[in-house]
Symmetry: D2
Subunit: 177 residues, 4 copies
C-alpha cells in the first residue's frame, strides 16, 4: 500500500515546519501541507482572545475551548477528504492531548494509509530556538516538548536536536514510499 | 435553510481577503476562511516554478498545470467535507476559468447551502491597489478584473471601488443568516 | 532646492505605507522608506512588553517609555544622516505627540529640504480598515485619527477616505520634485 | 571602552538573524538591529528587478548595481550616526565583496568601538537550512558560505553548524561588554 498521509507531531519549535518543507522538496510527488498553525490563521481573529477559542498564556501554555475544538474536528474531516480525493497530505500538528489527540486523528483518517512520525527535540534546545525565531511566546517550546508525545505511538521518530531538518526529512521519505 | 458556505469570487487586489476578515468579525458564529492563496502556500515551493504547477508571468498572467489542478480538486472536496462536518466556511477564490470554475465548485459543494458572492472592483482601481500593497506581480489585478466574472452567476454582488470592505461584509452578512 | 526628505504623518490604518510604496513607484529616482513600524521591529522583542519600551493596550492606546524614546532619537539622527549622505528618504511616522513630535523631527532634519505631508483618514473609515487588515489592535485607528495631527503644520495634506493611495502619491510627487 | 556596534557577517542561511534576536534577548541593554535584508525591503520594489539595483539569479547569485550601492553607502552613514547618537547597534550583513565590504564599513564606523564577528556555517548545512526555511532562492547559501569571509578580519568567530544561535549569542555577548 502507498502512504497517503504523513502525520508529524511535535512540540512548538521542534522543527516540524522545516521538515515539512524539506519533505515537499525531497519527495518525488507533490505533497500538500496541512498545518495546525494554518488552521489557527484561518479562524476569526477573535478566536484567539476567547476561552471559547484558543488562548496563548504569557508563560506559553495553550488553552483550547469548545469553538476551537469544533472547527478543528471539521478540519480533520476535511483533511481526510482531501486525502481520499487523491491528494498526498503532510499533517503538521501539536498533540496537546497526547494519545487522545492521536485517537481523534486516527478516527478521522480511518481507512487511509498513514505514517505516524514523532518529531522530538531536546527541551532546552527547543527553548533556545524559540528565542532565535522570535515569533512565539516564550515557554511554549519547553512546556510542550514532552507533553505532546505522551502515549502516542509512532511508525518512526526523528530528533532535530543534532540532526538537520533535511536529514530528518530524508529519513521519513524512505518510509513514505 | 442556513448558509453553510459563502463563496467570494473576484480578481486579484479586488479586496476579497479584507472582506473575509470583516465577515469573520461581523458574523455572530465563527466562520473558517478557505483561501486559494493559502492552498498555493500549502503546495511544494517547486510547484510555483513549473508548468505542471502554477506560474506567475511577469505581466501578471497566471498559468495553471495538471498537478495544480489535481491538488485543487482534492482541496475543494476537503472544503466541502469541512462544511458537511459542521464548519461554516468562507471560500476566497479567483475563478480564472469563470463559469467553468464555478461549475467545479458547484459539483464539490453539492447538497450544501451556498451563498455565491461576486467581488467587483474597477480595473484601474484594483491596479492602483496592487501597487499600494506591493506584494503582487504588476498586471494581475487588471488582467483578472473582468475575466473571473465571465458567465458566473451570483446571489449577491459587492463592489469595493467606492465601498469599504466592512460595508461590503455587512451587506453580505445580511444575506448569510 | 530639491526635496531630500518626505515626512508622512498619520494615524494607524490611515494608509501611509500604501502611499510610501506608491511614491516609490511613481517618483523617478529611488527613494528609501524609513518607517516607525520598522524601527519597532528592529528593537528587542522585550521592548514591546515593558513600560520602558512601547506598550500596545487592548483598547489601541500606545504607551511610550524612556528606552523607546532614546532609540527613537538616535534613529532620527540616523535617518537625517542618510539624507545628508545623499539618500532620498520617505519617513512614515505616527506623531503621537503631535506638534511636539514634529519639533523633534524638525531638529533632527535641520538644514535638509523637507516636505511635510499630513495623511488624513476619516476616523470611522480608518477603524473599518483596521478590521479589514486584521493585524492591528482594535481601537488604534480611531484613537489616533485626530490626535496625531494636533498642532502639526504641513506643506500638503492628503485624505485617503475617498482617494486611492496611488492618487495621493501622485499629488505628493508633484510637490516633491 | 564599551562596544557600540556589533557587526555580524555571514552567508545566507548561516543563522545571523537568529543570533541577532538571541543577542537582543541576552544583552542587558537594548540593542537595535540593522539588517541588510531590512535595507532591501526599504528600497523601491523596482530595485529588485533591475541591474541598477539588486538582482537575485535563479542559481542564488546576487548582482549589485550602482543605485543599490549608493543607497547602501548612505545607509552605512546612517547606521554610524545612530551609534554616535547613543544607540547600540547590531549590524547583520553579507559581505559579498569580502575584505572590500569590511573596508567600507570600517570607514563609515570610524571612531566607534566595533566588535567584528564572523558567522560561519558549513556550506552543505547552510544549503540544507535554505531548503528548510523555504523563502530563499536555492543556491544562495552554498555560493556565499566561503565567499563572504575572504580577507575579512574578525575579533571573534562563531559557527552555527553544530552550535545553537543562543549559544553563539552568549559567546558574542561575553566579548561585547
Amino acid at each position: 500500500m502507498t502512504t497517503q498521509v504523513i502525520v508529524l507531531n511535535g512540540g512548538s519549535s521542534s522543527g516540524k515546519s522545516g521538515i515539512v518543507r524539506c519533505l515537499q522538496a525531497v519527495l518525488p510527488e507533490p505533497w500538500l501541507a496541512a498545518a495546525i498553525d494554518s488552521l489557527v490563521d484561518a479562524m476569526p481573529a477573535s478566536m484567539q482572545e476567547s476561552a471559547e477559542g484558543i488562548e496563548f498564556a504569557p508563560d506559553g501554555a495553550v488553552g483550547i475551548g469548545p469553538q476551537f475544538r469544533a472547527l478543528e474536528a471539521a478540519w480533520m474531516e476535511g483533511v481526510a477528504a482531501m486525502a481520499r480525493a487523491g491528494a498526498r497530505i503532510i499533517v503538521d500538528d501539536v498533540f496537546l492531548g497526547g494519545a487522545e489527540s492521536q485517537g481523534r486523528w486516527r478516527k478521522a483518517l480511518d481507512g487511509l494509509d498513514v505514517l505516524w512520525v514523532g518529531v522530538r527535540c531536546d527541551s532546552e534546545t527547543a527553548a533556545a530556538r524559540e528565542i532565535a525565531r522570535g515569533d512565539r511566546a516564550r515557554g511554549m517550546a519547553a512546556s510542550q516538548a514532552d507533553l505532546v508525545h505522551r502515549g502516542v505511538r509512532y511508525d518512526l521518530e526523528v530528533d532535530t536536536t543534532h540532526t538537520e531538518s533535511l536529514s530528518c526529512a530524508r529519513k521519513i521519505a524512505t518510509h513514505a514510499t
